[in-house]
């Protein structure tokens, strides 16, 4: 039996200091974690009066990471102490915090008062805690709910980075085939085009469609919290990406589908992006069991490309054209709203950022 937590001291580490970094790295390595300082913003440790390391916790944005306690101290309050410290810090900045952990550890966080949102065995469980929760998001959805007479209720999730004729075609098609279409726009601001701009271009571009309801994706629809892989550059589909996609789709199925009564989800076929490909795969595997039909629509082509294959419209091609100063070559891809924006001075800053950047988004 160890002594009570009056013996424990807590301290924030300076990760630029190689000694501090080595301390936490070695400690975590012994517990089977590979600590990467790039993945965290701030790290704290707990030690006792004998100088023994008791446990540690880190965070990146609103996500708790690398929360671990040495086996010897697991019957103490160290774990609760670390989580209390982290939430106190984070809830001053954010409305709520997330935890990604292995499903077998989910019960420990639930024991502290965290709520489990979804699990993707055997890699991840996602939990949250704070002033807001997924129920706050559901309240937001309820406020946008449109009463319907038929079962033709569809949903679509778009990032639109930027909005192209391909997106427009897909939205128009889904809107024409359904009584109502809920259009979720990814809110995470990690794309070249900021959320406010993407939202505005879509709004103007689909103003003629009366049965489309635009919804902010918030923290739960393809967000950096649930689906960080989406915003990273990956060459191949890997387990991590697939499981994160699964978390996102399960959250959608469990919390969004019942509120809005969604029966169909539209997606464009994905020829270019591996992550979106993995996402489509997860949707096809999970959504049918929740009574949601996944409808894959072949992308709209604009003439044919150099290699005699159809020249599919894609937002990444638009960004590539901006990068290489060849906007004229893809003018056919762009709806009026995006074309006007890209050829105006308002987009100057964004264009320069794309030219300078190397990221996938």
């Amino acid at each position: 039996m160890t002594f009570e937590d009056t013996d424990f001291r807590q301290e924030t580490l300076d990760l630029d200091n190689p000694f501090d970094l080595k301390l936490v790295k070695d400690f975590l390595a012994g517990l089977g974690f590979e600590f990467d300082p790039v993945e965290v913003e701030c790290t704290m440790i707990v030690y006792n009066l004998k100088g023994e390391l008791v446990g540690t916790g880190s965070h990146l944005g609103r996500i708790l990471k690398y929360v671990a306690v040495a086996p010897k101290f697991r019957d103490t309050t160290a774990f609760a102490l670390i989580v209390t410290y982290m939430t106190e810090k984070l809830l001053k900045i954010y409305k709520h915090t997330f935890v990604f952990t292995r499903p077998e550890n989910s019960v420990r966080f639930r024991g502290l008062g965290f709520t489990e949102i979804a699990t993707a065995e055997p890699l991840y469980a996602l939990l949250e805690f704070g002033f807001e929760s997924i129920f706050t998001f559901q309240d937001y959805l309820k406020a946008l709910l449109v009463p319907v007479k038929t079962e033709n209720v569809a949903a679509m999730v778009v990032n639109c980075n930027p909005f192209t004729n391909g997106h427009k075609f897909l939205i128009e098609k889904a809107a024409s085939e359904n009584e109502i279409l809920y259009l979720f726009v990814v809110e995470e601001d990690r794309s070249a085009f900021p959320f406010a701009v993407r939202w505005e271009l879509i709004r103007k571009g689909i103003a003629h469609l009366k049965n489309v309801v635009m919804i902010k994706g918030g923290m739960y629809i393809v967000s950096g919290a649930i689906f960080p892989s989406y915003f990273l550059k990956h060459e191949a589909i890997n387990d991590v990406m697939q499981k994160q996609a699964e978390l996102d789709v399960k959250t959608f199925a469990n919390y969004v589908v019942p509120v809005l009564g969604i029966k169909k989800r539209y997606v464009g076929t994905e020829n270019y992006c591996k992550v979106t490909g993995a996402y489509n795969l997860a949707m096809k595997a999970i959504l049918p069991s929740f009574g949601v039909e996944v409808i894959e629509v072949t992308r709209k082509a604009s003439g044919s490309g150099d290699d005699n294959l159809p020249d599919y419209i894609s937002a990444s091609k638009v960004r590539k054209a901006i990068k290489h100063d060849q906007l004229e070559s893809i003018v056919d891809f762009l709806p009026d709203s995006t074309r006007e924006f890209l050829f105006s001075d308002a987009s100057l800053e964004i264009r320069q950022k794309i030219k300078a950047g190397t990221g996938r988004h």
């Binding site: 609760a80 102490l81 989580v83 809830l91």
Partner: protein, 96 residues
Amino acid sequence: MKPKIAAQSGTFESSDVIFLIEPLPDNSGRKLEISSTVMQQFGANFNRIVLEMLDQYEMTDIHLIAKDKGALEPTIKARLETAIKRSLDEQEGTLK
């Protein structure tokens, strides 16, 4: 009185309670989310303590979340008083 800032007091430990307080827009009253591991036996008592304390400080436009792990009455009162005072920006937390 209205909370000025978001505040937290207490811990997630056993025999303790954690309180979170955040300000709400004007005239939205009180929004309480209370959960306890001993809700069945002591829930009514817990609610009474919280409401009395909020009345005492005339708190309104407040969103309060409580996660109780079987704290005793003096603990609940002390934690809530601290949370209220912190949210009024009258008392600072010890953790920096």
